[in-house]
Symmetry: C2
Subunit: 222 residues, 2 copies
């Protein structure tokens, strides 16, 4: 498994390739030491860096490969297509989003939704290209993405359920209202994040933070 990048001569008749060291930004890269799965992750990381810095349309196979110091076709050893790589990027994005939200919403404060909502919005604002890729992609979910999405939403539902349960609701009514409250909350958060990313908020002559407070006041499950 663990092999160093090979030297291969061109298919036709070129005798050899000159340099051992490839010209790339990846100077001290762990590529050579990584196994198959780790290399997949390295590719995703490199792709996310390009996405973050230069936008989706610049995330090309050749560019990501160059960043890793490998040939373009090497990526096809790990992903079937560019679309496959994009799905992997989306999965990573959901993991990042949920990690941030869960980490921020562990507290029992008088306003328990503030932390998670703030973390959600911050993720979107700090990773606008990734957030767009995650939520505005016309392609359907892969099974893994579906699992991640449902799982993350279920976490929110559980929190809402616990909250409503402590207020006396039980049975199917509890379940129904928890799902609805959680859905409405997420929808509003996503709407705010989506518009904020695309700079549509300033058009509304309002500040994003004020709107978040407003949403929390009107839409949060409490």
């Amino acid at each position: 498994m663990t092999t160093s990048p090979r030297q291969s001569s061109p298919a036709r008749s070129r005798p050899s390739r000159s340099p051992r060291v490839r010209i790339s930004i990846a100077l001290s890269r762990p590529w050579a030491k990584a196994d198959h799965l780790q290399r997949k992750n390295l590719i995703v990381t490199a792709a996310l860096e390009v996405l973050h810095r230069h936008g989706l349309q610049t995330v090309t196979i050749r560019r990501v490969a160059q960043r890793l110091g490998v040939g373009a076709m090497t990526l096809y050893t790990y992903f079937d297509s560019q679309n496959d790589l994009r799905h992997a990027m989306i999965e990573r994005g959901f993991q990042m989003l949920y990690d941030g939200c869960n980490q921020a919403s562990t507290l029992d404060t008088p306003q328990p939704w503030h932390g998670g909502a703030h973390a959600y919005l911050q993720f979107a604002l700090k990773n606008p290209n990734l957030y767009r890729l995650m939520f505005d992609s016309p392609s359907t979910f892969s099974p893994a993405e579906h699992q991640l999405f449902v799982g993350g939403f279920q976490g929110l539902i559980d929190k809402v359920t616990a909250r409503l349960s402590s207020r006396g609701l039980t049975g199917p009514q509890l379940k129904h209202q928890a799902a609805r409250d959680a859905g409405r909350f997420w929808i509003a958060l996503h709407g705010l994040a989506s518009l904020a990313i695309s700079n549509r908020i300033t058009v509304l002559s309002a500040k994003t933070d004020d709107l978040l407070d407003d949403i929390l006041a009107h839409v949060s499950p409490d």
Copy 2:
């Protein structure tokens, strides 16, 4: 020079004109009878058809031109670039969206926001690719788009203002609350539309219509 065996001369005298009748979908050819502005609109219409039927990445210069029965480079007589054409498509989209909403929002019902909200959602659901192009484009607004966006939102603010005014609010407080209520309403509608388009709603184990009712109950400016 005229008959160089090399194939590399970029500019060469052209032998003849292509046949008069072009093979295209444009049979009744409104193109020939149109003036400059009308042709611009024909191009936008053709591009929107391709967008609607086959998605954004298939809206290529060559494809739109073929649909119109003209050469690819002809489009550059009317638009500076593909991006320029996209902006024109976005402008048309906003006009369509606002037309639909204004037409549907007859104000004097017990629930005055239902009509407009429903029309908004229907536009997004019926034109998902266009809606995505309008709201998820990473590019900044052109002045014309900005004008359209602000104008449409101002219409909503005016309606909310009238409503709040009839309840006794006045002065800067009225202005402030109207803007905030309208902003929150739009954000929630956009969040619902955006998630519904990308099929994320079924994941929430809820129906889009139910969620719209829920949003109207919690977020509408009333």
